[in-house]
Amino acid sequence: MTIQKNIEKSTATLALSGWLDTKTSPELKEALNNLEPTVTELILDLKELEYISSAGLRQIVAANKKMSGNLTLSNVPAEIMEVFRMAGFEKKLHIV
């Protein structure tokens, strides 16, 4: 998995691509931990994401907690969206 980081003022965008599974989710965890303290809003661009498992989902929940709800998931592919739906994410998170 690769993570591309882009910061604009207080908004950070992380573009995730590839497989976000048990093995790779620590990379996302690290990226979240390494976010500058000035960042108050986080956008996860999932356009290139092919796969997500519960480990990845957990990191998303953690990110949402860290941003106090200011997390936006954008460009969610249908397949990933189905996993969100199964996990009950669609009503709890801000998905555009």
């Binding site: 599974d21 929940v61 199964m86 009950g88």
Partner: protein, 679 residues
């Protein structure tokens, strides 16, 4: 016989031929009649002349022949007679005694020049050698009735008569010759003949022409029109042109009316036929769809494996759709429900009733009812909605997949066959009553324990009543014999199985092949449905075959080892979204084991079926069933876990947990989805 040529020309040529024949006959008849009449008249003239001569000449005028004035006087009288009676020559002559010469006494001609010539050539008393012919002899003997003689001599074409000349005492003293010019008679005859022929022929011709004209107008023209119309109609290209109205006589009108009626009928038949063909095609399409729907409800073949129980089924309908059905599903309490049924009758009606029965029964069983209760309850529903008095026989079997303990109930269905090691026998369930007829049937539960290696065969009467070319039924005995034999040979060959360990499928195929061989030359009359339920030989997974073992892979219980499994899933199932879901569920299960089971090894097995993928994970960790503890977590607490099992349950169509011989086993079944449906 077939004749060719148009009617018109046949009639015209016949007319002409008849005309010619008639003219010829009339002409020749007229010719002979006229000629006969003409010659008869000449004969009368000749006889008149003879009478005149007899009256005029005395014996003294002959013997001796006078000379001078008297001779000339006599000759003049004779010439007057000759002229008056239209003769050419009138002459008196005398044969000598020896009858070898004659002497001319008087010779006259009507024509002046001719008279002068004969006066010189045949002068008074001229003797010429002449042999008397028969008529002359006749006349000289005194016979008056001499016949006319036709002669073509130097005096022209003449007819002549000869008569005797007698003296007073009646003795014949000379012969009277009377010659008539035939040419003259013939020209008169011909003139009359031509006039007659022209008149008669003309009349005939005019009559025939009028008839031809009428025939042409009233028969030929309409006939030709009808015939050309029929030819065009028969060619099929002018199906919609009408026969034009014709003003004609009754018979032709009848033909044309019949023709119009016939063409209209044909037109209607053709239209009707086209409509029928369309409808038939539509019906066939609908039947195809119905067939699709039915096989959607009751697949043509099925294979289910649960723990040690495997079930295989096959259905083959006699018509497009049928009235047999079976079902096999795992109930929420972990019990396997198997049913088979046969609706009375065949075709659409049976199929509709079958669909209803199957749905109702499935629902009842799924509610957790025992077989008898489900059958009784279904019977009540069927009775309430059965105006056609259809009925259905059903056999229901509910099996505990771990122990092989089975509860069954029969509603009038054929008793199943129990196959043990090397032998087969009929089970003896209570007969029960078929469903749909009486709303107070009593059906009882019975039970049996399916031992290891035993099988139960459920079937419909399409199997036992399959008919061969000699009208013999397949029969229960043959079925039992077939299964017993198959079971024996399987025992002998066990250990070298190449059938991927699917005894249930083997049993079904054995029966189906047996029926096919038996009835190979006969049409299938009834729907054939076969369901086999088999209990595995072994006591646990440890006793699986080598082939089975080969499929199992052993992994280290660390997260990185999942990559091996992931790669295999990708290669077995392909890199599609469905596969990623299977990987997701497998990963969650794997992670669970790694994180919580404290196992020393993880074993996995991937089976790719026709319509499903089965992933089995086994670990030697501590006994636990993650699904037993269901803790509802708040969303914000999900980052600590708890989503994995939820995902597995949502993705897998069937999840099964068990623990045997200190091994935890998790079996996930993923059905292949025909289309993506996020809802």
């Amino acid at each position: 016989m077939r004749t060719s040529g148009s009617v018109r020309w046949r009639v015209v040529s016949t007319f002409l031929l008849v005309f010619l024949v008639i003219v010829l006959i009339i002409g020749s008849a007229a010719y002979f009649y006229l000629r006969h009449t003409g010659s008869r008249q000449y004969r009368e003239y000749a006889m008149d002349a003879a009478v005149f001569v007899q009256d005029t000449l005395k014996e003294s005028d002959i013997n001796p022949l006078p000379a001078g004035e008297e001779y000339e006087y006599n000759r003049k009288i004779l010439r007057n007679i000759c002229d008056a009676l239209e003769m050419q020559y009138l002459y008196i002559y005398q044969p000598n005694e020896a009858h070898d010469s004659i002497s001319y006494l008087y010779v006259t001609a009507s024509d002046d020049k001719e008279d002068e010539i004969v006066r010189k050539e045949r002068p008074r008393g001229k003797v010429i050698p002449w042999v008397l012919d028969s008529q002359e002899e006749n006349a000289y003997a005194g016979n008056q009735n001499t016949k006319g003689r036709l002669e073509n001599n130097r005096y022209g074409y003449v007819i002549s008569w000869v008569f005797p000349l007698r003296n007073e005492s009646g003795t014949v003293i000379a012969l009277i010759g009377a010659d008539f010019q035939m040419t003259k008679l013939m020209s008169t005859v011909m003139a009359n003949l031509i006039a007659l022929t022209l008149l008669l022929g003309g009349t005939l011709l005019v009559t025939m022409l009028i008839q031809l004209f009428l025939l042409q107008r009233m028969v030929f023209t309409p006939l030709i029109r009808i015939s050309s119309y029929m030819t065009r109609f028969a060619s099929g290209n002018h199906l919609h042109t009408d026969l034009p109205e014709m003003d004609s006589c009754n018979e032709i009108r009848n033909i044309s009316e019949a023709c119009i009626k016939m063409t209209n009928d044909i037109r209607n038949y053709v239209a009707e036929l086209e409509r029928e063909t369309d409808e038939r095609a539509q019906r066939r399409t609908q039947m195809e769809i119905a067939r699709g729907i039915q096989y959607g409800m009751v697949p043509a073949s099925l294979f289910v494996e649960k723990e040690r129980i495997s079930v295989s089924a096959k259905m083959r309908t006699a018509q497009e759709i049928g009235g047999d059905f079976y079902d096999c599903f795992l109930r929420t309490d972990g019990k396997l429900c198997v049913m088979i049924g046969d609706v009375s009758g065949k075709g659409i009606i049976a199929a509709l009733f079958m669909a209803m029965t199957k749905s109702i029964l499935h629902e009842q069983l799924n509610l957790g009812m025992d077989p008898a209760a489900a059958l009784e309850r279904s019977n009540q529903e069927l009775c309430a909605q059965n105006p056609e008095m259809m009925f259905v026989t059903v056999f229901v079997l509910v099996i505990d997949v771990h122990t092989g303990e089975a509860v069954y109930a029969n509603a009038g269905h054929n008793p199943p066959v129990l196959i043990k090691r090397g032998e087969a026998c009929l089970m003896t369930p209570k007969a029960g009553t078929a469903l749909g007829l009486f709303d107070d049937v009593e059906i009882e539960n019975e039970s049996v324990r399916i031992q290891s290696g035993e099988s139960i065969l459920l079937y419909t009467d399409g199997v036992t009543e399959a008919v061969n070319e000699y009208k013999k039924f397949f029969g229960v005995d043959r079925l039992i014999g077939l299964l017993a034999d198959a079971s024996k040979s399987e025992l002998l060959s066990s250990g070298s199985k190449d059938n991927e360990n699917r005894p249930a499928e083997d049993v079904v195929n054995t029966v189906l092949t047996g029926v096919d061989i038996f009835a190979q030359n006969s049409e299938q009359f009834d729907d054939i449905t076969i369901v086999a339920v088999c209990m595995d030989e072994g006591e646990g997974q440890e006793h699986g075959t080598e082939a089975e073992d080969a499929k199992r892979k052993i992994l280290e219980p660390v997260q990185d080892s999942f990559d091996v499994m992931k790669e295999e899933l990708l290669s077995v199932c392909g890199a599609g979204p469905e596969t990623r879901k299977i990987i997701l569920a497998s990963e969650e299960a794997f992670t669970n084991i790694v994180e919580y089971a404290e196992a020393t090894r993880i074993q996995y097995k991937i089976e790719k079926g026709e319509n499903c993928t089965i992933v089995t994970l086994e670990d030697d960790g501590r006994p636990f069933d993650p699904f037993e503890v269901k803790t509802e977590k708040e969303f914000d607490e999900l980052d600590t876990g708890g989503m994995g099992l939820m995902l597995i349950q949502q993705i897998a169509d069937d999840v099964e947990r068990s623990r045997r011989n200190d091994v935890n086993c998790l079996r996930m079944v993923f059905q292949e989805k025909l289309c993506e449906n996020p809802e």
